[in-house]
Amino acid sequence: MQLNGYGQLDATFAALADPTRRAILARLTLGEASVTELAQPFKMSQPAISKHLKVLERAGLISRDRDAQRRPRRLEAKPLADANAWLESYRQFWEGSFQRLDALLDEMKTQKAQKQKKGSRR
């Protein structure tokens, strides 16, 4: 299933909102894996894992090899990279501001300390 633009972004974030699904994706960054292999680290039945895999698949975050007997799942990088770019653009906007604010706050702290020093001398 192909989703476009922000529909894709919503599907990605919704899929990432679950810790089991994030762990599955983290596992798949190491390489493709079968359902049995993916289910192993979790105290979950295979049907429960399959449900999570379905959500990930519908969101386009993973795909499976239909020909191979093991039908291994593999990671689809693009939607995750897009979601990361979206968050990154937000970070870039604000981090530029906040780095300047860091410098300003340092200056304000120094000024305040100097004022207090002067005050205590009186």
């Binding site: 968050l87 501001s97 300047r100």
Partner: protein, 169 residues
């Protein structure tokens, strides 16, 4: 991480974006830096942008007017109204961009201090996810380097947040 500072961006729901950033200063100073025009002018805006108009009437019912000038000389205006001010802890304001004046979003800023450091948390609530998307679209256009490194970063971030975000499949 690509994330240069300690800024964290999370999306607890479709209409919300939460920014968290720690500053190495007491919150009184941070609060001043967020509310006084002469201080705001010195930091507000992404790299390459300058705040050419900065008018602030910092009281409940009062408002602000900002105009950011970009490196290409283009201006981006925004304005807002203060709904709640509890100095130096928190403030709530509504803000909107000139391009989308009828689509204001609510910003709740909270400052907490511990050991001389201040944690700033801004919760931005958009009236709908469409508005969120419109507001953020411009930012999206300059992102988009699609590498596995960043993918790993994202997963790492998401994994470390697993306790912070409620599971809403």
């Amino acid at each position: 991480m690509k994330n240069t500072g300690t800024l964290k961006v999370t999306t607890p729901s479709h209409c919300e974006v939460v920014l968290t950033r720690v500053f190495d200063a007491p919150r009184q100073l941070v609060f001043e830096a967020f509310s006084k025009p002469d201080l705001l002018k010195r930091w507000f805006g992404p790299h390459g942008f300058s705040l050419v108009v900065c008018e602030v009437d910092f009281r409940v019912g009062g408002g602000f007017r900002f105009v950011l000038r970009g490196p290409d000389g283009k201006d981006m205006g925004m304005r807002g109204v203060y709904r709640e001010i509890v100095s130096p802890e928190r403030s709530i304001h509504m803000e909107s961009f000139d391009n989308y004046p009828d689509k204001p979003h609510q910003v709740t800023s909270v400052l907490t201090e511990q050991g001389g450091k201040t944690t700033f948390t801004a919760t931005i609530i958009y009236p709908s996810k469409e508005v969120r998307d419109i507001v953020l679209k411009s930012g999206m256009e300059h992102g988009a380097a699609e590498t596995y490194d960043r993918l790993a970063d994202l997963l790492q971030t998401k994994l470390s947040q697993s306790s912070a975000t409620a599971a809403t499949p």
